[in-house]
């Protein structure tokens, strides 16, 4: 009885200790979400431009979905296409590069490592202008392609750095173990290396997508005649004042993304369960093999 009470008290103390932490986290989150909420609120603003709050209306949503403002929708489509392509390229090159730069020694490796810092380090405008000049000399046509190259150039370093940070001595031990157990390089890569750095891959993908979809400057400089991304459009509209239909669109985007996250989460959970079952099975097999080996 006394023991149970002590445990109870301990739990209570634990919980009390957690309160300041929760408040702190809530404050941090609110500094991120208050602007978003205000942004959403102003999608219901009954004014031509968001100079200040003029009254409540829902008229911007039907107006948005009548697709009258096709500039807005087009630039959104370009933004999304670019972000997805950039994420895929950056993660592939990032995973390969992260592993390659960690594992191998080769002439010029130091140099490449240094180069990886450059896009993170230099102001975006410099990267943008320098690439613009190069593209013009090389005769590239400005458009989605050049924006993708521009975004990848600053997303790949982040991807490489994140993934390199994920690879530790453990990974090599695991890889060696896998090879010792008879797996070839490809199997090892796909079944051991990739899963072991999966969290890194996920955050690299996250970051690439976020950086790409939010980028203003490089998109602005490297956009061609007909394709500009949503941030570039917003930047130029901001000169005269943001119109509430842009708020409405951004609101819809947030909702869609949250919905997408939930779906992803569910899929991930199903996948994890299957993974865990498979892992348990393979553990079983390894143990059996080890036993067999010992016996032998």
């Amino acid at each position: 009885m006394a023991a149970a009470e002590r445990l109870n008290r301990k739990q209570k103390r634990e919980r009390r200790r957690k309160i300041p932490w929760t408040i702190f986290a809530a404050l941090v989150y609110s500094s991120f979400y208050i602007p978003v909420l205000v942004m959403i609120m102003f999608s219901f603003n009954d004014a031509k431009r968001n100079y200040s709050w003029m009254g409540f209306t829902t008229k911007w949503y039907p107006k948005l979905f009548s697709f009258g403002n096709h500039d807005l929708w087009e630039s959104l489509a370009y933004s999304l296409i670019i972000a997805v392509v950039v994420t895929v390229i950056s993660v592939i090159i990032g995973v390969l590069g992260g592993i390659g730069l960690k594992k191998f020694e080769f002439r010029g490796k130091k140099f490449i490592n240094m180069m990886l810092f450059v896009p993170i380090v230099v102001p975006e405008i410099v990267l943008a202008v320098s690439m613009l000049i190069i593209f013009m000399i090389a005769g590239f046509k400005l458009g989605l392609g050049t924006i993708v190259i521009g975004h990848c150039t600053f997303c790949i370093p982040y991807a490489v750095i994140i993934i390199k940070g994920r690879i530790t001595g453990d990974n090599e031990t695991l890889q060696e173990a896998s090879m010792d157990l008879g797996a070839n390089r490809l199997q090892t890569f796909l079944k051991v290396t990739i899963p072991s750095i999966m969290p890194g891959i996920m955050s690299a993908a996250f970051l690439s997508f976020t950086l790409s979809i939010d980028d203003v400057m490089i998109s602005n400089m490297l956009a061609g005649a007909s394709q500009s991304t949503l941030p570039v459009l917003i930047l130029s509209v901001n000169r005269t004042g943001i119109t509430p239909d842009i708020n409405a669109l951004t609101t819809v985007m947030v909702i869609v993304m949250i919905f997408g996250m939930i779906v992803m989460n569910i899929l991930q959970r199903i996948h994890n369960k299957r993974e865990a079952r498979m892992l348990a099975e393979s553990d079983e097999r390894i143990r059996a093999a080890r036993l067999a080996a010992e016996e032998y």
Binding site: F24, G108, I120, L127, G165
Partner: protein
């Protein structure tokens, strides 16, 4: 390409080529060559309508030596440092808080952190303006509660610029620190506690040193972009509060002095190289590579 010519440990160069090749090629094509070109341009003469005249000159570097530019550079470094320190002070405990949660909760919390960043940063900056503008909710609240009797001009001040910078770069500080804290082995912390260390001592002597690569990565990911930004300072500073990023941007925009912009960029490169050099005096470079 030259990088891939190097010899791998073994005889088989294929994995090396496949893995390090793409990234090396990309970096050389789209970073090295353009950057060399920018350095080259910084030693040229400005064209009348922007662009460059290919006449060698040190004019840009001479302009840069003027005292006003020095002030701007110092001010920019100061603001970037303030942003970074604020991001570390808020970000580290926050990353720690997330990392100590069960993995599923942690990943959900990280997602929650990233969602606002899928709304355009310009829209969020615009929202801060709406909140703090002269007839905005903050001023109205303070007027109604008689805390003030005249609206305060919050917008277009250094303070709001700093708020914008911090809220914009905090996630980039949290993510790397979260990764390194999350990698910490719980047994180590428990061992520290078992050996009689108070939580404070454990934090100072064990957690902080072990997560230093993450912290340094956070510094890089906040300090340097904050030093080079111009969109945030432009929007929240009203074109009056100028930092080095704005000056560089203006050289490629309204002022059209590309060589000077290039020279200022070279300066930023030097500052960054210096930072990394300083770091290398205190810690192993390999640790930094793990960033």
């Amino acid at each position: 390409m030259t990088a891939s010519k190097g010899r791998a440990k073994g005889t088989n160069r294929l994995p090396l080529l496949a893995q390090a090749g793409p990234v090396s090629l990309w970096m050389i094509l789209f970073v090295t060559i353009p950057m060399l070109f920018i350095i080259f341009i910084s030693f040229m003469t400005r064209g009348t309508f922007g662009g460059v005249e290919y006449t060698p000159s040190l004019e840009s570097y001479q302009t840069m030596m003027e005292v006003t530019y020095f002030h701007i550079i110092v001010k920019s470094l100061g603001v970037a440092a303030e942003t970074t320190i604020a991001c570390l002070i808020v970000g580290y405990p926050f990353a720690y808080y997330i990392a100590r949660k069960p993995p599923a909760t942690a990943s959900r919390l990280i997602t929650l952190l990233m969602i606002p960043f899928w709304t355009n940063s310009l829209m969020r900056l615009n929202a801060w303006m709406l909140i703090f503008q002269t007839n905005g909710p903050v001023n109205n609240f303070m007027l109604n509660t008689h805390m003030i009797d005249k609206p305060i001009t919050f917008i277009f001040t250094d303070g709001l610029v700093l708020l914008g910078l911090i809220t914009n770069y905090l996630p980039f500080a949290v993510l790397p620190m979260y990764s390194s804290i999350e990698k910490l082995e719980k047994p180590i912390l428990e061992a520290s506690a078992d050996l009689g260390a108070t939580p404070g001592v454990t934090l100072l002597k064990v957690t902080l040193p072990l997560t230093f690569p993450g912290i340094f990565s956070a510094i890089i990911l906040t300090f340097i972009p904050a030093l080079g930004t111009y969109v945030i300072t432009d929007m929240l500073g009203g074109g009056k509060v100028l930092y080095i990023g704005n000056i560089i941007k203006n050289q490629f925009g309204t002022i059209r002095n590309w060589p000077l912009g290039a020279a200022l960029s070279v300066l930023l490169l030097v500052i960054t190289a210096l930072m990394i050099f300083i770091y290398s005096r205190f810690a192993k470079v390999e640790d930094m590579e793990v960033v």
